[in-house]
């Protein structure tokens, strides 16, 4: 597959880790308990670590002395290929957990396939990521159950987050032309094959948490094509602030 398309394919995975890591790191110092704060930061660190591995790979593909930071910080909003789900704000802890749970469940299924990629670098990043993401999934699933089957208030709050964010999960299984090309080259994962397992796993946890799977008429999509939600501009303003204000400097 050609280099440009491979890079786009990597973005469609890596940008999710960056943006979710960025969202999670906003929570540091503001978590509901010290222990939970520390746990959430660990997940942010895992995600940002994965991001760096992917972007370092992209930088070598780009050549011309590009670095992971050029890739992370110096693209326009349209050039980020993360799904809408991961850029949604930390409205309350229920949203943090629901977003994490929806993404972790997908993320693990994806990496379990990506570890067999014919692209050795991607396979290696996936293999390492599986251990981290397995833990994330365990953490977020446990919290879904605690909030769902906790108090009446927590049940209502987490159900609200689940219902709102569910609309962003359809996009996870969309295939773009470069995804298709990556699959044919043996590099990428056919995400349409993950959908059934995904929904089953989500349903199992929600059932146990006494929560209901929302029935939806319409799923939101666009992130994968670079058409983001209004939140994304603010997130990037934060993320890129230094690099944009003081261009071409080393930090």
């Amino acid at each position: 597959m050609n280099k440009e398309n491979l890079i786009q394919y990597i973005y469609s995975i890596a940008d999710n880790s960056l943006i979710l890591g960025q969202r999670m790191s906003e929570l540091c110092g503001h978590g509901p308990s010290l222990e939970t704060d520390i746990a959430c930061t660990n997940m942010a660190l895992d995600l940002l670590g994965q991001t760096r591995s992917y972007y370092q790979y992209v930088a070598t593909l780009l050549g011309e002395g590009k670095t992971e930071d050029d890739v992370a910080y110096l693209r326009t909003e349209r050039e980020y290929k993360n799904v809408l789900l991961v850029e949604q704000p930390n409205t309350h802890f229920g949203y943090v957990i629901a977003r994490q749970f929806f993404y972790d469940t997908f993320h693990l299924l994806l990496l379990e396939k990506l570890q067999f990629s014919t692209d050795e670098t991607l396979a290696a990043i996936a293999k390492k990521g599986i251990k981290e993401v397995s833990y994330h999934k365990r953490f977020s699933s446990d919290w879904i159950k605690r909030l769902g089957d906790g108090t009446a208030e927590s049940h209502q709050k987490i159900q609200e987050a689940i219902t709102d964010l569910w609309a962003y999960t359809g996009e996870l299984f969309d295939m773009l032309p470069e995804d298709q090309e990556a699959v044919e080259a043996g590099i990428g994962v056919d995400v349409t094959t993950l959908k059934e397992k995904y929904q089953e796993q989500i349903k199992n946890v929600l059932d146990e948490a006494t929560l209901s799977v929302p029935e939806l008429q319409w799923f939101q999509r666009g992130g994968k094509q670079g058409i983001h939600s209004e939140h994304m501009g603010f997130l990037l303003a934060d993320l890129q602030y230094m690099q944009r204000t003081y261009p071409n400097m080393k930090w």
Partner: protein, 94 residues
Amino acid sequence: MEKNWPLWEVFVRSKNGLEHRHFGSLHAADAEMALENARDVYTRRNEGVSIWVVESKHITASNPKDNGELFEPAQDKVYRHPTFYDLPDEVKHM
């Protein structure tokens, strides 16, 4: 509701072959959470391969007031130690 997460004691085995050692404590609502929190709080720098957690209230501790009767009687039982026995220096492998 005004019920706080109880306190747990954390024991970590740093590597196989060593015993679990008391590392500190933390708060958690249940055992599962205590284990996860212990992992996140006490093994961030690769400090462990195994964790035990136990709710602090389940630990029974001796009272320092009883230290006299509990521990001092052992002090003069010197015959429990190898140096108590006089042997010639020439004896090997003993």
